[in-house]
Point group: C2
Chain length 308, copies 2
Amino acid sequence: MSFDRLIKKIIETKNPSVAGLDPRLEYVPEYITKAAFEKHGVTLKAAAEAILTFNKALIDELYDIVPAIKPQAAYYEMYGWEGVRVLTETISYAQSKGMYVMTDGKRNDIGATMDAYASAHLGKVNVGDKTFEPFGADALTVNGYLGTDGIDPLLKICKAQDKGIFVLAKTSNPSSGELQDKCIDGTPIYAVMGDMCEKWGEDTIGEYGYSAVGAVVGATYPEQLTELRKRLPHTMFLVPGYGAQGGGAEGLKVAFDENGLGAIVNSSRAIMCAYKKEDCLETDFAKAARREAIRMREDIVRVTGLSK
Amino acid sequence: MSFDRLIKKIIETKNPSVAGLDPRLEYVPEYITKAAFEKHGVTLKAAAEAILTFNKALIDELYDIVPAIKPQAAYYEMYGWEGVRVLTETISYAQSKGMYVMTDGKRNDIGATMDAYASAHLGKVNVGDKTFEPFGADALTVNGYLGTDGIDPLLKICKAQDKGIFVLAKTSNPSSGELQDKCIDGTPIYAVMGDMCEKWGEDTIGEYGYSAVGAVVGATYPEQLTELRKRLPHTMFLVPGYGAQGGGAEGLKVAFDENGLGAIVNSSRAIMCAYKKEDCLETDFAKAARREAIRMREDIVRVTGLSK
């Protein structure tokens, strides 16, 4: 009922980073896509199967050195329900290898509807006399614009089933400030949202001092990252914007506490497409991803000090 | 590239309301669920198939009197990828009957990821040398917390393919005010978000004066509804909170312009579960839904004056 499970994995792998699995079909090596087309025709099913093959090979090379994956729901929905099927299979495959899975869905709604999302992505659903875990992720990103009504159904499941959520506070994109930087009585909205995260999480604090309610805070805004780390002592941060989005490791130190914990840094394209940058054989794509994941771990840990 | 297609349907059916298809399995008559269990076992697939049967029967009774359906993505994701498959089939079935379909997904993300959501739900996706419409809805609800970066990819598709979006402004739930009512330099956030909708939509205004960028404004807050209607002359409103959530038709007048246009009112449970309230035969559930939809149309139009 906190982020302890994730933090233990981070300590075990000495790696406060998460591999974002955002598999556009263009990222998948051609020989995999070609084989899928041969088997299933040029269809959404073929696209989905190619992505699944790609994901599994990446997971096989990452699970012992990276604590978690973060599949981005949009890239699965993009290939229709076949894509969503492959999201489910990706989640369970990663978990079968011991990885922690955070679905990046930024879901939001109220009451019974949010309850449906929470049951779908983190919890269980009853059908007749049976119980199913439709997606079964360990954590979910959510959007808090609707207030407590949209968060309570998630908290119930976080507590009952030891899951977590990350609420958008300060996102990494250029226009994030249009709303998030505006001030309410002198406090920027990203900090107001952060304060709500502290409050929502207050009775789920685990042994490392962090609750089950984390916040998304972009690496691209180091000043806000610094401010929020001080302001939100019990809130675990999910930090996008490292690597492909431009943020470097130096600016990341401020996201972490004095033990090198309290944050997990995402990298998606740099890991998935490492083989394109390295100019190695397509068939070595997963090894290239592993090399990039190790480089990233060293780059981050050098700054955060977790390995000491 | 505006909401003209939807508005024409509203005028044609003389009905500014939308049937929310949020099919929890408990809402589906038992004889349908039982038949699905017999065919597919007690599985997520059976749940999804039962929901599809339910949805199709409702659409058959509603398509000539209700302009649009609004399937809520959460209730499909709740039954896993089989549920999502049935969302796809529900959308295309309703469209085959001439209905306008707005997927209620409250999606939000940035850049390439939002582009993936936009392509998934409203647009097209290339696979090899072919093009697919993964979900193919006519409109999508979205959350604007991330600013313009999260809206631009949608606008591109709205313009190219004559689709629309509804951005959350003032939601109908009790805690919506926690963030949305807070003021930025004297202006509440829901109005700031509304102003952004006007701006985002400014070059997509159609023949009825409304752009392709609508706003979600709850019926449960008539004061804010009045204020926003005046403030946002080119923004079509999607109004939840009528019926089951407690708002009545009297308070709805303020959502509409002098022609009885500019808003569409949602009702979900009251229509889907009309047969439970009426205490009629389970097998008459779709006829009961039709009766409730007609009652609702009359209740609303009496106030808005569209039928005159």
